[in-house]
């Protein structure tokens, strides 16, 4: 439900939502009891519908507790998933993986389109200092924390040192990723205006680009650590090809999209779905990073044409449904028994990330001589993690299947915690800074 509508929602609405959610669970549980054996393909239809509805309703009900919608989607997925009620089985969860591909493309395209040059210029100095400190110091420190705690992480136990260092670097890179969707959600809800809102938006969108490039570099860099040998010139050439190629493909795509939006501008949902599925596969085939390409495409449409708002609106429309299924599927994918074993370590990693984010942000703000409000609250928007982080973890699972699943479970556990705490913190900061408009 929209924020405006949500604010009007009274006890009657919540009661109806709770009854509907209960009825959905009863219906699906009854169907699962009566016909427990079914091929994954046909179960997928019902699963998408169920996760879509249950996620939406759970998010509405959790809103009463001040929790963000994303927590509701995740919770619905966890409860319905193979480890709790088993309404959505493992095969179905795997069959839903194409949704991840589409969601990532939309996140990247939307993230790029949010990155306006004018905004970047206004807070360029603050953002560049912040990004350098958070990405550089944050990556190394949080990778180090992971190394220190690795003996308590089940999937990392017994890994040889070079592999462990590689995993720690991947973790560090993921740890410096932020959540554009959470930031935009809170800004839309509070209608905040002011230096903190501007800084947060620019910082998070720019960090999207940095993290995507950083991840591509780290993946190429750590491959030799896993497979043996060192980083050769060939590896660097591959990396260069991947980054430059991705930017080139993204620029071409952006120009084509801008032309389409200007000349035709219809059926954008179908176009985005086609791009999300078709181009992602094509880019993988030619060894181009789809995330970076879509990010560049969004940036080009926003800054080199007048079609940015149209693209943003279309991405918003397409992603409203895709994200619910994406996050709910991520919840269903959560290995609950593993999480039971992992929660202390997830909590420690989250705490370490929050502390490092706080310290590096304050430090960078002082060096950049930011206004006091940014020095004080600039870190608050950086705690959330969501779609981009989960998406990058999918990339890691695909690239390193030998430890990927365990790694992803830990990522989901930490994202779940960060996503519950982060938006609440950011909203609190906007309220305290006096930038919230409601």
């Amino acid at each position: 439900m929209s924020h405006a509508a949500a604010s009007r929602a009274g006890a009657g609405t919540r009661l109806i939502q709770a009854v509907c959610l209960g009825a959905l669970f009863v219906l699906v549980m009854a169907a699962t009891r009566v016909a427990p054996d079914i091929g994954a393909s046909l179960g997928t239809l019902g699963a998408i519908g169920f996760l879509l509805l249950a996620g939406t309703l759970a998010s509405e009900l959790l809103e009463v507790l001040g929790l963000p919608h994303l927590s509701g989607y995740l919770l619905a997925g966890i409860v319905a998933g193979p480890h709790v009620l088993h309404l959505v089985n493992h095969e179905t969860v795997d069959a839903l993986s194409p949704v991840n591909t589409l969601a990532l493309a939309l996140i990247a395209l939307g993230g790029g389109a949010e990155l306006r040059v004018s905004t970047l210029r206004a807070v360029g100095r603050s953002v560049s200092y912040g990004l350098s400190f958070q990405s550089g110091v944050g990556l190394v420190t949080l990778g180090g924390v992971f190394l220190l705690l690795s003996s308590h992480v089940p999937f990392a136990r017994g890994l040889p040192w070079p592999t462990l260092i590689a995993v720690a670097l991947l973790w560090g890179t993921l740890a410096v990723s932020r959540s554009p969707s959470a930031c935009l959600g809170v800004l839309a809800q509070t209608r905040a205006k002011g230096p903190l809102a501007t800084y947060s938006l620019a910082s998070i969108m720019a960090s999207d680009v940095v993290v995507v490039v950083l991840m591509a570099c780290v993946i190429v860099g750590v491959r030799p650590l896993m497979l043996g040998g060192g980083i050769s010139m060939a590896n660097l050439r591959v990396l260069g090809h991947e980054i430059v190629g991705s930017v080139a493909v993204g620029t071409s795509l952006g120009l084509a999209l801008a032309a389409y939006l200007r000349l035709v501008g219809k059926n954008l949902l179908l176009v985005l779905i086609g791009l999300g599925f078709g181009l992602t596969e094509f880019m993988r085939y030619i060894h181009i990073d789809p995330l970076l390409s879509f990010l560049t495409a969004g940036f080009v449409v926003q800054n080199l044409s007048l079609q940015g708002d149209k693209l943003l609106h279309a991405v918003e429309q397409a992603s409203s449904l895709v994200f619910i299924v994406f996050f709910a599927t991520a919840g269903a994918h959560l290995d609950v028994p593993l999480l039971r074993a992992l929660w202390p370590i997830a909590l420690m990693l989250c705490s370490a990330r929050a502390i490092v984010t706080f310290v590096t942000s304050r430090w960078a703000s002082r060096v950049a001589q930011d206004p006091p409000v940014i020095q004080r609250w600039g870190w608050s928007s950086l705690v959330s993690q969501a779609g981009l982080t989960l998406g990058l973890s999918v990339v890691i699972v695909r690239t390193f299947p030998e430890f990927g699943e365990g790694f992803r479970s830990l990522v989901i556990a930490t994202v779940a915690l960060n996503e519950m705490i982060g938006p609440v913190l950011f909203k609190y900061a906007l309220d305290r800074a006096g930038e919230s408009q409601h």
């Binding site: 016909a35 393909s41 519908g49 086609g274 078709g278």
Partner: protein, 415 residues
Amino acid sequence: MNAILLLLGLLTLSYVGSALRGERAIRGIGLASGAEYLCLGIALGPRLLGIVSETLLEGFEPLLVVGASWVTFIAGLGYGRVGERPIAPLRAALGVLGATLVGSAVFAAVYAALPLVAPALVPDRLLVAGGAACVSAGTTRQAVRWVVERYSARGPLADTLADHARASALVPIAGVALLIALRPAPGLEPMAFAWRVGLTFGIGALLGLIALALLSRGLTRDESWGVLVGTSLLSMGVATRLGLSPLAAAFALGLTLGTLSKRRAELSAMVRPTERAVLLPLAVLAGALLDPRAAPAAAFVVPLALGARFAAELVRTGLLVTTSRAARPAGLSVAYGLVSTGEVTLACGVSIALAFDTPPARTVLLVAAAALLVGEVVAPLALRRALGRAGELESPDGPSWSMPPELPARGSDAA
């Protein structure tokens, strides 16, 4: 061809379908039933060019189920109305009775003649006869709409035919629900047949009520889409899981919303553009699914079913001409106009073929395809002649390219 390429191809067809749905396009481009896309599917399918293989088709089965069920969901949402004009209950009842008469005639003819023309299918006599009846009972509203819009027809006969076509959609969908309930999931076998049929529609009705409750709480357009897509997919998924008809469940969902929701017009306007976008990929995949080698008896069953349908339509038209003053000048040419079939017939044929996946079920799909193609050849011309004789064509010599703005609300079936 790999799955991604096929998916992109289907998305392209959806795009074309969306573009064709414009008011001008439907009067100028494409056939009323989308039969040309069925032919494209036959050409691309495993039996001719082999670009779409059997394995790919199996992988795309869920999409076929979704496409077919979405078509019936839209039919349910707009049921009982032509555009914004509600159909009079008596006329709706006559439309349903007429379609039931045609379906019963086809059922009786195929059931009785099957031991003579195709003894191998006798063990599945009920499926073949019932399936042929389902795919022969309906008249597509698109054909009526096509002629009405193309030749600017308006008048009582045009309205009557549009009403009958719209009302007839219930019969094939209910028939498919009955057929599929004959063979449910093992866990549902102890339940009585009538309860199983009731459960099929009950799933849709329950989810319709849930959707109704959620949609009445001031949702935005995106959130409304979430509710519509979520409930319809869930109705299809649950019905499929229980071995019941997803088409009937989706129809019941649409019907519940269309009947009870205050936002019916808004919801219809939202889903209307998706119909053609779904129909074209569905027609292509259905065409690829056609396999005459897997259904050798179709050579006998198809002419039998079509012949029975033509005969039954003549009887039905005879009754119509006797009882309706508006139909009298048109005479029996109305009968040939009523044989047009379209999206609902195709959805029913596909659903039966997928639910049973046996040679008799493939025979039913062939009957559906043949009915679609024959209807496309015969019906538009016959409808034009009938409306011309009734003096309801404003531009009888050729297509009208400039519609009076008030016409769709009266004669066309916009929703």
